[in-house]
Symmetry: C2
Subunit: 236 residues, 2 copies
DNA sequence: GGCTCCCGCTGATCCGCGTCAGGGCGCGCC
DNA sequence: GGCGCGCCCTGACGCGGATCAGCGGGAGCC
């Protein structure tokens, strides 16, 4: 794949506006400057970077999905983030990666050099502002996340996760894609795979979702799902 | 930045290097520019800012302690952060506060205008770099936090909390100050006050801590405490 | 085809922590 | 002093989710 900075020819599956933007913005409509990117392809399950390695690049997902995770000393695994098409990952520490990243499915990424980003931030005041807003948003999301993990039931967590995925999904095929396994979902939500499975069955029996197959489902009643995700809040 | 290294007149109770620093750095040794600050005093339990209000200032704690929290729709409360002397809080959203802040004890703060910070970041490349590292660190801390909340037992959470407090405490009086109530600790750790109380008793009976009174205790065996905080990890 | 392996689902059991209840202590107020 | 209230501790009990176990289906490989 030739370089992507001039978006004369958009990569397959990406909106034409994407490549010349700041690599960190998940939402390209915000604007930004050109940073050269290098595409790469990763097999399902392969490691993209290791915990403890130096942070030299960040990545935007073109297709596929990526999990950012850490093995805990007791052998458990915790997933900090799923990166979906259009989203960015890789800045999970100051100097060194504090997590590892692995391809959940076969994935195509675009890698950006960190120093190019930093040079761009120094050069472009607008980019720096955008960066600032981006990090604040990420922090806010992290805070919401630990409210979820701190005091929510299994049903609330799973419902919340599905709604979140649906909100982030690119408009595309009918239904909601779940690229990751039940184990991945469990390690992301602080549950076990058994509980995730049981909860999905529960939501299905309650008529809120329909399960097409292991990696695709349909949200039938988002109103009740939202209520399941946050009891005490009015449904939209 | 005629700057930080020369600190002419320290505020009472603060290390001499503190006031003229970038307000956001928890660690002033990192350097930064002078931003004017305005001191204020808050009674125990009083609100410093409300959820949903515009973010116009950020705050550094001079003395006392502050909790940054949110009421959940189901009536529960969640505490996102305790700010101790020398630490900074108030940037908990992009435009609006997504949490409220309350004084845990009587507290003296220094407030900084957000626009002064932003002007400083635009003006001083060094300050902007420092800001960037600061936000990345905060993000990293948030990620560690949701690992803690996602898959840790009550004992691990409490032990971790005590060690964290000890690491952040200013060298001062003998023993470890716990300015907050058991309820505050519970809402921070995603537990109940009963469980916090029971767990402290457990650690005391195991000889890892000694409880002087409700708001002060002593860490007797940090090695075993660390092991209790992260099983499977060698004690230091 | 037949085997193995991984993944997902479901049932039975266990246990940690939430919940409920009661009692003690310190502090402020009448 | 006496009282009420907030905070803390402790015990009894129940529930939700982890754990353990078993089963079925699909993919890859021989």
């Amino acid at each position: 794949m030739p370089n992507v900075t001039r978006a004369t020819k958009p990569a397959p599956g990406l909106p034409p506006c994407l490549p010349p933007f700041l690599p960190f913005t998940d939402r390209p409509e915000r604007g930004g400057a050109a940073i050269p990117g290098r595409p790469s392809r990763h097999l399902r399950g392969s490691e993209i970077y290791a915990e403890g390695s130096a942070i030299r690049q960040l990545y935007r997902v073109v297709s596929g999905a990526v999990r950012v995770c850490r093995m805990l000393p007791d052998g458990r695994r915790f997933i900090a983030q799923f990166a979906l098409p259009g989203e960015v990952f890789g800045l999970d520490g100051v100097e060194e990666h504090r997590f590892s990243a692995e391809a959940v499915t076969e994935a195509v990424l675009i890698a950006f050099a960190r120093r190019d980003l930093e040079a761009c931030l120094d050069r472009e005041p607008l980019a720096a502002q955008s960066w600032q807003a981006y990090t604040l948003e990420k922090l806010a999301a992290a805070q919401d996340r630990f409210i979820l993990l701190g005091c929510r039931s299994a049903t609330e967590r799973v419902a919340h996760f599905l709604l979140d995925l649906a909100a982030r999904a690119r408009p595309g095929r009918e239904g909601l894609a779940l690229p990751m396994s039940r184990y991945d979902m469990a390690d992301y939500l602080g549950l076990t795979a058994e509980t995730v499975s049981r909860t999905l069955t529960l939501l299905r029996k309650a008529g809120m979702i329909a399960i097409e197959d292991n990696h695709r489902l349909h949200l039938l009643d988002t109103g009740r799902l939202m209520q399941a995700a946050e009891p005490g809040r009015a449904a939209a």
